[in-house]
Symmetry: C2
């Protein structure tokens, strides 16, 4: 969290990357095999990616060369058209057009092109606009590789390495996004697309981040691919390799840690879900799984079957991780700028690698592949990037034991089985396990589990006794500080609870005093207090922003035009599940301006086609002028509108020694749980186990 | 939450109960088979329960008859003796004496007797004290059955039933603890052990709580077993039986709800844990599982193996659920007193019934039986009351993908397997699934999942449109309100982090301003703010009380005399996981006085042998004068002492239609997670899956 590290002395040109990755499930695809597109939300196929890129290269709009492709993704059809399709896919007489959004840099400009790839043999650029505002698209993999080759060609760096008694061959450097720090820095670098590089000592370990080459910072102009700034500020001991390894064949045998019995989930009747293309059907759920090179997994058109009405009912039009903001808490030269936007700076989808069967996902999982475009516009295939599995965790969906009836004790139980859609984004040192979990109760749960490797700082300290000032972190090993930091994972959730127009309701649990006087609504009993529910419907965006600070409140998304038979508004409840930290940075601090939405966990906005990226479309070095908080200043109406929930999971991370050399998973979650959506518990009329 | 319901017309005398329960895994035990006691914390055996009761009956201390046994439990040996035993069980030359604590009522008094049952053929009462303060022991099962027989013998009640057009045979009543509401009520009932009774219409459903006979309240003197008060205040329609059933053979086939594929966890090499008596050994964990008729599961002497030092290290001396406080939020005559102390009023252990294999616990679970004493002191055996299983939930313990190294992409993963110890307490309408989960990382997680049946109120409303005033609940079905309420589940956690004496550390994450001046600790960078950690060690109990209100804070339990090699204090971190509600009742309200500890989630006290029950030893009609908050007024020292954490999970519950007729599980949890306890992640040197 977050940088793609590239080894210094193996310049990974695209072709080399292709060769390398082919052994690992990541391959430049053969585009000859065209695919059919049964679903308008299917991610772009290899052929479509190729066609989009070809159209951009052939377009008169982009004259400068070279052209670097930074993003190619599905430019989704209008929501109304998709909903129309989804309501009756079989009878859709015409397929919706297939459009790609391409962000490309050429001649120092960021182009945003919309390309029609409906006919892959004749793709056409529909529009081009040049981005004039702040910020840049994410770094490409190839840019990071190329930047990795610069330091050894830069004499002052060579001298720094020699001065430390190291060989150039032992050192690797990575591209670190530099954040945005106002006019002073913009002037210094003339507003160029610059990144910082930090270096590490290789050898003796696969743990790239455990042995920082402290004190050295390079500044690289990524467009020009040249070193434009350099500082060697301080020398620190290089932490030792011993104890940093994590690969099984290096740490054992013998294996000294706790071992557990192998176990595997067996499904005697096979999997319980079907995948028709990218549409998943399981129990009462149906939804579409897409892949976007920036967001990773995209869940769309999630509908749930209602056993009472026999109808499928809409819940979530679209859900995806929009950004992961990770600021570190050391103001020093080599650390102050580490305020990563992991999606905007590096792309979460590209940071996802093939999942390891039996490790990342259980034996009963199915896998999906995905494609993204490299900087030349070639499609790159990633095998097994998403897994789907039924989770038999030993939980109980509902139960009751009744001992009050004559001559019997009744125990009725339904074990819980859920469906998980998982992707893991490895954004440099950190790994984010991102789960969308569907429950037969109608609940959608999002779980983010953080693991991977800490961002570490080399230090002269080998014992805490010697630390006299604020070290900005925990000494997690000799000569190694794990620096304090935060994670803010923001989900974009376009809720369509039983229809498009919804309202956001804040139910406050309000203490009441019992007056003992029936005339004033009191009861003539000695009870003195109780609580009741005060309902507030959010009118505008400013009402839709909530900081969860332990206040007793229930947050609902209701469809004001739909009610249950007995009159309750149908709705879903947002249920936070830990990980509710908000940013502690000052409002005037630059990273906080960029991520100004991180001081409240909940924002609600009216649906707007262009508002997908909470940190802005151009988040890399963005200023925050196109982020969620900026949009919401318009204070638009959100009552009985098509609304979008933005929920930010937050974790403050004070590292500890157990987080070294790889940290155990730490999870945060939230649930969207039906609340008067159904007439009653949907699982009552289900089969008990073994029947 | 909370009442044992007993059918009106089948008076369940103890013998009848024995016959009934024998078919259901709950049986009066044959005490002929004596057991050996290898462990001083083993729960009392059937023979010991019998011996304790016999001694009480034979004791000159208790002269009045009849004697009603309300509680028999292990009177644990001194902690120092247990620790001494545990440190080297093999060489313990003498076994520790076996003592029982018996709470019995006779002649209107509550006796507290300590009985030596080391020699079960010659048990002896060591001491007797008569409780003079407020409160009573829990109701016995037999008392509740006997009370259930009273209403049809009480003419006004017979008239009320007739007036409603019902037959007596259709009606069942349950004993509802009446809470404590100050001197006014005490005077009214002359300080007697009274309970209220509420009645329900039987027939057409196994859902006892779905069809309340509204408006009728009986007051019963439980010691005299006589009706002493009666009110028929209001008549409401009886909700219909249709839609309230939950038994599979009644709701289907056909089964209309979502069905999932059957799946089962298979362990080809067998279970990974061993049980030697009640000591469980699994992976790096070892702990003792006990059973107490009030608390249910008791986890003791939890130690974790340290792969670095090769030593077993102490973590938790004892953990159990101390109380479940459930206040309802309707001040009306029939509801104001519903402020249940589920453990203190009804006993959680006795409320636990045989678990259903494959439903309550997965196929790979092992089961434990338990014994408790009935009111005659006879041992009652409950089969399969606790299950232990390895949980293969598809989670990831840790992982990392490294793409920065030359010519390879490394993915290293360890799937997570945990060990769960589960009991379910069905306290009347509600079911609490209570899990102690052990992780190989060293974490202990406690999870409470709430399911079962809402407490419902009959109402004339059939549609929300007609509701004009505060209904104190949600209309969950026609004529049925689910009343607002809370659940506060308090765990007693005697932490012994790497030794007996620990300190409680509150680490506040504190915003800092970067001065840009190195002389004042600033960095000359444009970063304006960051956070750091301010440490505060709690000196006395008043410092140990924490209300979690979203403040950025990390709570640690450290051993101030133990440090890691690099100098960090060894510790465990308390990590809340949702369900952090606190009570909203006014401080002067009676139920709040009894549960005054529920306004803060965290309390820390010095270990005191007698302080086990957070709501007081005599919680039934207790006043709060012997609760956690009362003890803590002494403001004792807790720094570098043997300390106990009391953590309260809190949930406000606004019911919804999905909670009807049985509610889907809703979970709250917290973790005790090692924090600089180990030198590093214990799972690094473990085998990957399939190796």
């Amino acid at each position: 969290m977050a940088t793609k590290m590239m080894p210094l002395l193996s310049v990974l040109l695209p072709i080399a990357i292709a060769i390398l990755l082919s052994a690992t499930g990541v391959t430049v695809a053969n585009t000859a095999s065209a695919q059919s597109h049964p679903h308008p939300l299917d991610s772009l196929s290899a052929a479509e990616l190729t066609a989009a890129s070809a159209a951009v290269h052939a377009s008169p709009f982009v004259k400068a060369r070279p052209i670097t492709i930074h993003y190619v993704g599905l430019n989704e059809p209008e929501k109304a058209d998709v909903l129309s399709y989804a309501s009756n896919p079989a009878s859709s007489s015409t397929t919706l057009p297939r459009h790609a959004l391409v962000i490309a840099r050429a001649g120092g400009e960021s182009h945003e092109l919309r390309v029609d790839v409906t006919d892959i043999s004749a793709p056409s650029v529909l529009s081009d606009s040049v981005h004039r505002g702040a910020g840049f698209p994410a770094f490409t993999v190839e840019e990071q590789a190329a930047a990795g080759a610069l330091p050894p060609t830069y004499a002052p760096f060579v001298e720094s390495v020699r001065r430390r008694g190291l060989n150039l061959s032992e050192v690797g450097c990575g591209v670190f996004s530099k954040g945005w720090f106002g006019g002073e820095e913009e002037a210094r670098w003339h507003g160029a697309r610059v990144a910082k590089m930090q270096c590490f000592v290789l050898g003796g370990t696969a743990n790239f981040y455990a042995r920082p080459l402290a004190g050295v910072t390079l500044v690289v102009d990524i467009d020009r691919m040249a070193v434009v700034g350099y500082r060697d500020r301080v020398v620190q001991p290089v932490p030792k390799a011993e104890g940093t390894e994590y690969r099984a064949d290096k740490v054992g045998p013998p294996f000294a840690g706790p071992s557990v019995a192998p176990g595997v989930v067996v499904q005697p009747e096979g999997k319980g879900f079907r995948m028709d293309g990218h549409v998943v059907r399981w129990a009462n759920w149906e939804f579409h799984v897409g892949f976007d090179m920036r967001a990773g997994t995209v869940i769309s058109l999630a509908t749930v079957h209602d056993a009472d009405s026999g109808l499928r009912r809409r819940v979530l039009y679209r859900g995806f991780v929009s950004e992961v903001f990770v600021p570190y808490m050391d103001p020093a030269e080599e650390w102050y700028f580490r305020t990563f936007m992991d999606a905007g700076d590096y792309n979460l989808g590209i940071s996802a690698f093939p999942l390891q069967p039996g490790g990342d996902c259980p034996a009963n999982a199915a896998y999906l592949d995905a494609y993204y475009a490299n900087q030349d516009g070639e499609p790159v295939k990633v095998d097994n990037v998403i897994c789907v599995f039924e989770r038999y965790a030993g939980d109980v969906a509902w139960r009751h034991t009744e001992a009050a009836l004559a001559n019997q004790i009744i125990t009725e139980v339904r074990p819980d089985v859920t469906l998980v859609v998982r992707m893991v984004a490895s954004t440099g040192n950190y790994d984010y396990i991102l789960d969308w979990e569907f429950k037969t109760t109608g609940t959608i749960k999002f779980v983010a589990s953080l693991t991977g490797i800490l961002a570490m700082q080399a230090t002269s300290y080998t014992h805490t006794d010697k630390i006299k000032e604020d070290a900005h972190g925990t000494l997690v090993a000799e000569n190694t500080l794990g620096i304090y930091h935060d994670h803010f994972i923001t989900c974009h959730l376009d809720l369509d609870v039983d229809g498009t127009n919804n309202s956001f309701v804040k139910n406050s649990l309000t203490p009441m005093r019992n007056t003992r006087d029936p005339a004033t609504g009191g009861a003539d009993t000695p009870r003195r207090s109780y609580w009741t529910v005060r309902r507030e419907v959010a009118e505008n965006e400013s009402d839709g922003q909530v900081k969860l600070n332990g206040a007793p409140r229930e947050l609902l998304f209701v469809n004001p035009s739909k009610r249950t038979k007995i009159g309750n508004e149908v709705g879903y409840r947002l249920l936070p599940g830990g990980a509710t930290a908000t940013s502690l940075l000052d409002d005037d601090d630059y990273p906080q301006q960029r991520a100004s939405y991180t001081k409240k966990q909940v924002w609600v906005t009216p649906y707007n086609r262009s508002e997908k990226w909470v940190s802005g479309l151009y988040a890399e070095q963005g200023t925050g002028n196109d982020n969620l908080a900026a949009w919401s200043k318009k204070n638009r109406r959100i009552k009985d509108e098509d609304i979008v929930l933005w929920y930010t999971l937050g974790l403050h991370h004070v590292p500890c020694q157990e987080d070294f050399p790889v940290m155990p998973s730490l999870s945060g979650a939230f649930e969207l749980r039906p609340f008067n959506f159904f007439q009653s518990n949907q699982l009552i009329r289900t089969r008990p186990p073994g029947h």
